[in-house]
């Protein structure tokens, strides 16, 4: 039942794209079981940071360690195993639209099994039972045989979460998990993430746009600005004054810069 969960230690991590430095010398320790929000405006380096942790993006310099494992040195099989261990969910869900929900969820098992049966699309009864359990947990059983592209955004993200859970991950990376969802579905997905964090003890790193979401759901908030960490504390300390001091704008403006707001703009340039 218990898989050893370790802490994630990031040291001096940078990522440069040509002349642009997306992530700049970041140091970050995430203890096992923490639910951490990474906030920042568009282009602050949130996605790059998360994508470096599972090595979808190669770091330019610096190191990432998970317990005794040097993540930045992993190659081949070991790298694929690490990616299985730190499951990721995406802003656009990244499901296979033409495949049914069950198949999408079973994708989470691919790293646990030999490749030939997978290539032929053969999954065992035990794996199917796992998928059914996961779908049942988030109230998705009724749509298990529907094609993924027929689902609403909120359903798709929860299916993506089931896929992530079938990886039996040791931590979860959530890259803007609710940025494409309406408020109701956003809450369903965030509730599910917190449930996984509390019940399964899974470490979660979530990139979030909205500060209120970060405050409501997370144990700790890290704020990025131009690739650097400018705030790292419990959510209660993330007051409007702090936002003003860090970003030099009000919290309202912080949100308005990235998300459409249904109110008239105060000034038009």
């Amino acid at each position: 039942m218990s898989i050893a969960r370790e802490s994630l230690r990031i040291h001096g991590l940078s990522c440069r794209f040509g002349a642009v430095t997306a992530v700049d010398e970041i140091d970050l320790d995430v203890p096992a079981g923490q639910m951490l929000a990474v906030i920042g405006r568009s282009g602050a380096g949130k996605s790059t940071l998360l994508r470096m942790i599972n090595r979808l993006q190669e770091p330019s310099t610096g190191s990432i360690a998970y317990g005794p494992t040097d993540v930045t040195a992993l190659r081949g099989r070991a790298l694929r195993d690490w990616r299985r261990d730190c499951a990721m969910i995406f802003q656009q869900f990244n499901l296979i639209g033409r495949a049914d929900v069950l198949t999408n969820v079973l994708i989470g098992r691919l790293n646990h099994r030999p490749w030939l049966p997978s290539l032929l699309g053969l999954f065992t009864e035990a794996e199917r039972a796992m998928a059914v359990q996961a779908l049942d947990r988030f109230g998705l059983l009724d749509i298990a045989l529907q094609r993924a592209d027929t689902l609403s955004g909120g359903q798709q993200q929860r299916v993506a979460l089931c896929r992530a859970l079938l990886q039996e991950p040791r931590m979860l990376l959530a890259d803007e998990p609710i940025a494409s969802l309406d408020p109701h579905n956003a809450r369903l997905v965030m509730d599910a993430l917190r449930q996984i964090n509390r019940e399964d003890g899974l470490t979660i790193l979530a990139n979030l746009h909205h500060l209120d979401t970060a405050r409501a759901y997370c144990d700790r908030v890290v704020a990025l600005d131009r690739g650097r960490i400018v705030f790292d504390d419990i959510p209660d300390r993330l007051t409007p004054d702090v936002i003003m001091a860090i970003y030099n704008i009000t919290e309202q403006e912080f949100h308005a810069a990235d998300t459409p707001v249904a109110e008239p703009m105060r000034q038009i340039q």
Binding site: H112, R128, A129, M130, L145
Partner: protein, 277 residues
């Protein structure tokens, strides 16, 4: 928490009870029978065509002899004839494609479900295109050689006749796949149906149609090389004559010239397409 280790027979039974369809097994018997039948059919065809290893080996040997005779490629004595034929092929393909594209433009719209709203009309128009598309370019060429006499005019007509219905079908599908939101906005702004098509549909299909025309030009250049074999003008006549007298080195030279020409057209069309995307 979901763990593979915690899944036993009891859990599988419970899950199966929750959602039986998730465990629907593919029928191995039927896939097996289907696979065997397919294999039997392939073997039957091979027997029918008398495909035997001996015949294959004999043919392969003949092919190697031809290949050996192709090198080194040589232009032979009639450089001018070859160049003239090649230019004629390209010109036939170009002119034929342009004329076909112009004729296909209205036909494409008439074939689109969202333009011709009557289902019966749409269906019959599309089947009409399908019917004519079934006639190969070479058949058209044979017919036109009889009607117009030997020479590039027959070939040109063959290219047009064969290409019009292909382009009309592709255009009709492109029109059907357009996003209807822009034309809805034009209708909402008080525009007529014609204007809704002009501003709501045409800008969406223009780059697609252009790409299709460019591809048709390239493909017609390739197929126009064969039209000369039946006397419909172009480089094909030069090839056919040289094959008759087994001047394989000159045939090879002409093939290389055709490849270079097609590659050049492909490169140009890629440039144009990337600028118009």
């Amino acid at each position: 928490m979901i763990r593979a280790g915690s899944i036993g027979p009891a859990e599988i039974t419970a899950a199966r009870k929750r959602l039986p369809t998730a465990f629907a097994a593919t029928s191995w018997v039927w896939s097996g029978i289907g696979g065997m039948a397919f294999l039997a059919w392939l073997i039957l065809l091979a027997v029918w065509f008398d495909i035997t290893p001996t015949r294959l080996a004999g043919g392969l040997k003949g092919l190697l002899v031809i290949l050996a005779q192709m090198f080194p490629p040589s232009p032979g004595a009639q450089w001018a004839d070859i160049l003239h034929g090649l230019l004629q092929s390209v010109a036939m393909a170009f002119l034929g494609t342009v004329i076909a594209a112009i004729i296909a433009l209205p036909l494409g719209f008439f074939g689109a479900r969202n333009i011709v709203l009557n289902a019966a009309a749409h269906f019959s128009v599309r089947r009409f295109y399908d019917g004519f598309r079934g006639i190969d370019q070479l058949i058209w060429a044979l017919a036109f050689v009889r009607a117009f006499g030997l020479g590039p005019l027959a070939g040109l007509m063959a290219i047009i006749a064969a290409e019009v219905f292909v382009l009309a079908k592709l255009l009709a599908e492109a029109v059907e796949n357009t996003n209807k939101a822009p034309s809805e906005a034009i209708t909402a702004a008080g525009g007529s149906r014609l204007l809704a098509i002009r501003f709501g549909v045409v800008p969406q299909i223009l780059p697609i149609y252009l790409a299709q025309i460019l591809y048709a030009f390239e493909s017609n250049t390739r197929s126009a090389t064969i039209l000369g074999v039946v006397g419909a003008g172009g480089i094909g006549l030069q090839i056919a004559e040289r094959i008759k007298v087994r001047y394989w080195d000159e045939v090879c030279f002409i093939i290389i010239l055709i490849l270079i020409t097609v590659a050049l057209i492909d490169r140009c069309s890629a440039t144009i397409r990337s600028r118009c995307a």
